[in-house]
Homo-oligomer: 299 residues x 2
């Protein structure tokens, strides 16, 4: 991946509110290995560590995460699970690195016992988090009819693919990017795609940023979980390099989310909410992805 | 993906005990969409549906799955969670398609209340399933010092990549393959990589097949969870097209599992258990992956 990283540029990174910081200590580790020729070699691998999230005195979940932005991850997880509402006042968020815990404290304590009982312990990667509450939260969600220019989508994909990232540094990681127009705002990465998107949700909640005029770009599959989280965040458009699952498409159509997949170079497929797209550019004029910037796979 | 599928061959599929059956009704669905030029198009997307697993009268988990081999998924999940031991006698496995449930019945009922309490509700995709029990199960696991020829590994990768699959048909899916020597035996696919590997574990448990002389090939990342499951299945070698996470490498080294990643064409990296590899072929004589058979990403 070294060669690819060389080709990534920092030209546009100044424009991000939060961009990946692949050099940050603790996110990757150098590991010694042996290559196909039997020769010793070192590679960078992505860290994963447990983070236990508490809401007041209630332990909620232990997430496996690369470890950056634990406060945003906790806030976004609780928000997307419907355990923190828009009107809840968060008084403090305390991260303890040694204990690997983050405690979100609210002004008014509520009992989450009932909610915790309802939790489905899921084993599907596509729905690594808890489902019942998330589907409930969708009731009443109405996504705005914001228009999206395809020229902006192409520009976003181009910029995001060239942004230095843990993916380009070490691979084996997912990325999600909150965007506005042609500008990527917040680019989060994590071992699970839902952590990346929860960190974005946490940032939005903390900063009071609305999803109305945003696009969420993700490197991962458009599963039911990604679709639900995007809708819960009030973001009307979800775009990905990767493919779809049938349930993801079903829910996107139900909630009226624009869902664009298989976005590579000039190609993409829209399986839901095509009416939001303003096709203001001839796709044949869009350059193909350079081989060097083509994401291979986090899988 | 159509063009790629044309190039896949059924030549070697007869050799599999279980090969993917991408044509099987219900695994994919044709969905109408719109492409980058605004033209209507249909694509095949992978299904995902809930499956609730019971052990006797105890509800254990709801997994999201493509829906094939529910009995193997249930058996393998329970086995890998340590809820079914090698000596437990399974009397019946009942799948109810309408209720989306599968009930595994054992000769002697045991209380799993205590185990259920210990469960960590994880949100990490890398550890979509429950962790505490799995790590416990690793105590006492000793993996055999089986030798593995690199010529066999190359042959496996070549055959698996060319085997018709849901991935080639619809993308957005993970695959795991149980192999012996140069022969792929059981190739399972699912929306989550752990479901694919659990289905293999279920087949092994049901058929009484040992992992001692096997290799597990996976399309997904070598996360802690994949490493733990492979070790629990008694399989000494795990190989993947994809990358590593640091914790996955740590555990592989702890339990003495051979872990090979980034296996593409002639290249691979071994980060653990290199002593099992018998380098009986010059990598430079191995042909590069044809562009048409290169897996892009399930992610």
């Amino acid at each position: 991946m070294g060669a690819e990283f060389q080709l990534a540029t920092r030209d546009d990174v100044s424009d991000y509110v939060i961009a990946p910081d692949p050099e940050r200590a603790g996110l990757t580790r150098a590991v010694e290995g042996v290559d196909q020729n039997g020769e010793a070699m070192g590679i960078a691998v992505v860290e994963e560590r447990p983070l236990t999230i508490y809401l007041n005195s209630q332990e909620i979940v232990t997430a496996m995460t690369i470890g950056d932005f634990p406060e945003y991850l906790a806030l976004g997880f609780l928000r997307n699970q419907g355990m923190l509402s828009e009107t809840d006042v968060v008084t403090r968020v305390d991260f303890d690195e040694e204990l690997e815990t983050v405690v979100v404290r609210t002004e008014v304590e509520t009992s989450h016992e009932e909610k915790l009982k309802k939790k489905t312990r899921t084993s599907g990667c596509a729905v690594g988090t808890v489902f019942g509450d998330m589907m409930e939260g969708l009731e009443g969600v109405i996504l705005p009819q914001t228009q999206v220019k395809t020229s902006d989508l192409y520009a976003l994909a181009h910029r995001i693919n060239r942004t230095p990232s843990l993916y380009l540094e070490a691979g084996a990681i997912h990325g999600s990017v909150l965007c506005e127009g042609a500008r990527p705002l917040v680019y989060m990465e994590d071992v699970g795609r839902h952590n990346a998107v929860d960190k974005i949700a946490g940032w939005m909640f903390d900063e009071g940023v609305s999803g109305v005029d945003k696009v969420l770009y993700t490197t991962g599959r458009l599963t039911s979980e990604m679709v639900i989280k995007t809708a819960l965040m009030g973001i009307p458009v979800l775009a990905s390099r990767s493919g779809f699952t049938a349930w993801g498409v079903d829910i996107a159509r139900q909630v009226g989310l624009t869902c664009i997949g298989r976005m590579r170079g000039q190609r993409f497929v829209c399986l839901s909410g095509n009416e939001r797209l303003v096709r203001d550019v001839d796709p044949s004029t869009v350059p193909d992805e350079g081989k060097k910037h083509r994401r291979k796979s986090a899988e």
